[in-house]
Symmetry: C3
Subunit: 146 residues, 3 copies
């Protein structure tokens, strides 16, 4: 079974945002997969996807704080400044965290760790709507009798 679908994520402020529930809700067909995988590609170069702690909002605040310190907007070495001081750092942040995730599916559900959630990491001040291309594949199959 193959499924491919574009999912548009509403615009969010700069920072880290949990989107697990929104992604899963857009893909009800995952329930038919006994075993498989879900691939997500964020079709942008200044935002990223990550998998991390989904319980404490402070963790998401600190991700933003660390990234802002590690990839400083005011560094003298940037040459690509045309699109604003948040633009080039956003490109670097996007590739540090990555724009895609591949996640296992077991018995019709995303098989993540207990504390793992999908983060949309918005690195621009005004990033706007972000598009995901979701591709799922695997073996469908009834779990007979249980």
């Amino acid at each position: 079974m193959w499924l491919q679908r574009r999912i548009d994520l509403a615009a969010r402020p700069r920072g880290f945002h949990l989107v697990t529930a929104e992604v899963v809700a857009a893909l009800p067909e995952l329930g038919a997969l006994r075993v498989g995988l879900l691939h997500l590609l964020l079709a942008h170069t200044s935002a990223s996807l990550a998998l991390n702690e989904d319980a404490s909002p402070a963790v998401r605040v600190d991700f933003e704080r660390w990234l802002d310190a590690a990839v400083p907007e005011q560094a003298q070495f940037w040459t690509h400044r045309l699109e604003g001081s948040d633009d080039m750092p956003a490109h670097v942040k996007a590739s540090l965290l990555g724009q895609s995730l591949t996640l296992p599916i077991a018995d019709g559900r995303l098989a993540l760790g207990t504390w793992q959630g999908i983060y949309l990491c918005e690195h621009r001040n005004h990033g706007g709507t972000r598009s995901l291309l979701a591709t799922a594949w695997g073996e469908s199959g009834g779990s007979e009798g249980d």
Copy 2:
């Protein structure tokens, strides 16, 4: 062919550890895949997986040294401090390196580069046992006569 199996990795000290042999030994069925892929998800948010040099132990020492300098435990900006000074940096390190790997299989073997090995990157002082969910898929098939 699809295979999905949980692999429990024994607790290791903070640092970088080669686990290629341990992962392969837990998945003897890979030998039947003529062409395919292996996906590994580490089901945690404070440890990670990486692919890097498997020969010199000094490389693994230096990974730890660089990460400790780049994501300092004593930075003033951390707000998530409840679980110890090694916790929030461990979350950041985990997403920098990533918690999953997708690796090609050719003729029944992991098709890595000559020097590539799978690292378990333990970012907590006392991380305990770590669980991997391994998913493999591909085409089985005999290589007749050669």
Copy 3:
């Protein structure tokens, strides 16, 4: 359908290089996939793959500048110095960006975002030829009537 092929990328200077066209040209069979994925593994530990802005060359310059500042060759903490001052930083940079990409295919084409291109990130001063192992899989199928 499964396809697996080694692609040798010509030696390039240290820095970031767009290789999207070169990779696609080496894989004409992708045109037969209605839906699928392409996995690329760079079989090295001192170079990496990334997905980022393919329009402005200044973006690629700034990636190199940021990485050189973030992973300094002259840091006192490196212990692995035998292979030159660019070697250990190259290992770290390789795992920060990652040595593999998984990319969706739709209607016979790589389904990347408008501005996304594949970067070969060469972290050594003289890295030489770099090998990719490309694995593609998916559903072939005619688009009847359109």
